[in-house]
Symmetry: C2
Subunit: 210 residues, 2 copies
DNA sequence: CATGAATTCAAACGTACGTTTGAAACGCAT
DNA sequence: ATGCGTTTCAAACGTACGTTTGAATTCATG
């Protein structure tokens, strides 16, 4: 029963894969970090690829419980939207050095591999469904599903920018200025207010045309 | 005078770097595509890294002239915003297989390397400035620069989502549904309308508090 | 304690990569 | 045609990688 070896390898692999990506990570570095022999990866997982998939799986199994997104049903939809955005931004940004679980999932989002579809199914999909149901509370029932998808994408697009294009942002407006914006609740406030009006706008124009 | 060799190499390099990224691209593949000898890269550029930087440079020098963004000064700011968004979306999405110039710049945005700062300075920066000046036409002068930056980020965040997270989108809502949304002017319409209200919202709340 | 399967280990294999080399081919002024 | 700097070429070098191997070790079970 050497499950402890397997988990040590997965932890080390998650860390290294998160930092360097699949191709740039080497099993030698992973094994050194896990303090196991080189051949252990082949023995326990088969090859590098299978280890990677296990690491991604582990990323969204362990990571999810961090602070689950539980939104009280009785609050108005506007407040739910704020909770959602704030939770998403916290997950992505609010750590000194984010745990490899998040980092690895973000990497998988940026450049999907085989492990991606499962990640979408068991992690991203459920979150997206929550957002969709919040949006559905705010728009008339007559609005088409496509329009609601666009609204959801507009919300998450604003959030993801700060995760995926941070270096560009710093180069664009300067390090200090950009970092000074980088307060989760400040950003969440902005995105939420911006989006609330946008959502109203679309549902207004839909009602007018129906 | 073997400038033609250099340009053949840069073209091939741009293509391969765009498709596979810096690390995954091999100079052997580049040389084969360019139909030059292996040693040509070292002779003309020094090493792989310097070739990459030259390729990125070339990407935003040649690529820029495609269809320059010229917005007539007399149209209302709302229309300027639409032009901007539509131009950005067209650049990023509206090609069967996008020219390597765009692809390479997008790759550099997703994971910046040494070549990034120059890309920001000479390509992204100017575009961002245009967006900022459009926003400045729409908000009261009293609004802070930070708030205007947030507004600009909200606009481009919505646009970039469709470029960088297309595979996720397809997995989330289904291939056909997602691709059916993928019409540049339809998306630009949505993002523009969504953003116009968002921008108004922020400037309203600013005026109320000032 | 003895036995056999499960696990670990050091070492090596084969391959692919970026880079270097030294000679050959070319272009061009004399 | 001769000589010389520039450019191309086939071949090799050194290194790092994923993977494999077969022996050594550990461990549970009888």
């Amino acid at each position: 029963m050497s499950e402890i070896t397997k988990t040590r390898i997965i932890d080390a692999a998650g860390e290294v894969f998160a930092e360097k990506g699949f191709e740039q990570a080497t099993i030698r570095e992973i094994c050194k970090l896990a303090d196991v022999n080189l051949a252990a990866i082949n023995y326990h997982f088969g090859d590098k690829q299978k280890l990677y998939i296990e690491a991604v799986k582990s990323a969204h199994c362990e990571g999810e419980e961090d602070e689950p997104l539980l939104i009280p049903a009785e609050v108005p939809a506007e407040k739910k939207l704020y909770y959602f955005i704030e939770h998403m931004m916290t997950d992505m940004l609010d750590r000194e050095s984010p745990t490899w679980h998040v980092e690895l999932m973000m990497r998988e989002m940026a450049r999907p591999t085989l492990a991606c579809s499962e990640l979408v199914q068991s992690y991203i999909g459920p979150k997206f469904s929550i957002l969709m149901s919040i949006i559905e509370e705010m728009v008339p029932a007559t609005i088409s599903l496509s329009k609601k998808h666009l609204l959801a994408f507009s919300v998450v697009g604003q959030c993801l920018l700060y995760r995926f294009h941070r270096p560009i942002g710093k180069l664009l407006i300067g390090d200090e200025e950009f970092e000074s914006l980088f307060d989760v609740s400040y950003l969440a406030d902005h995105i939420c207010e911006f989006s609330l009006r946008g959502i109203q706008s679309i549902s207004d124009s839909q009602e007018a045309s129906s």
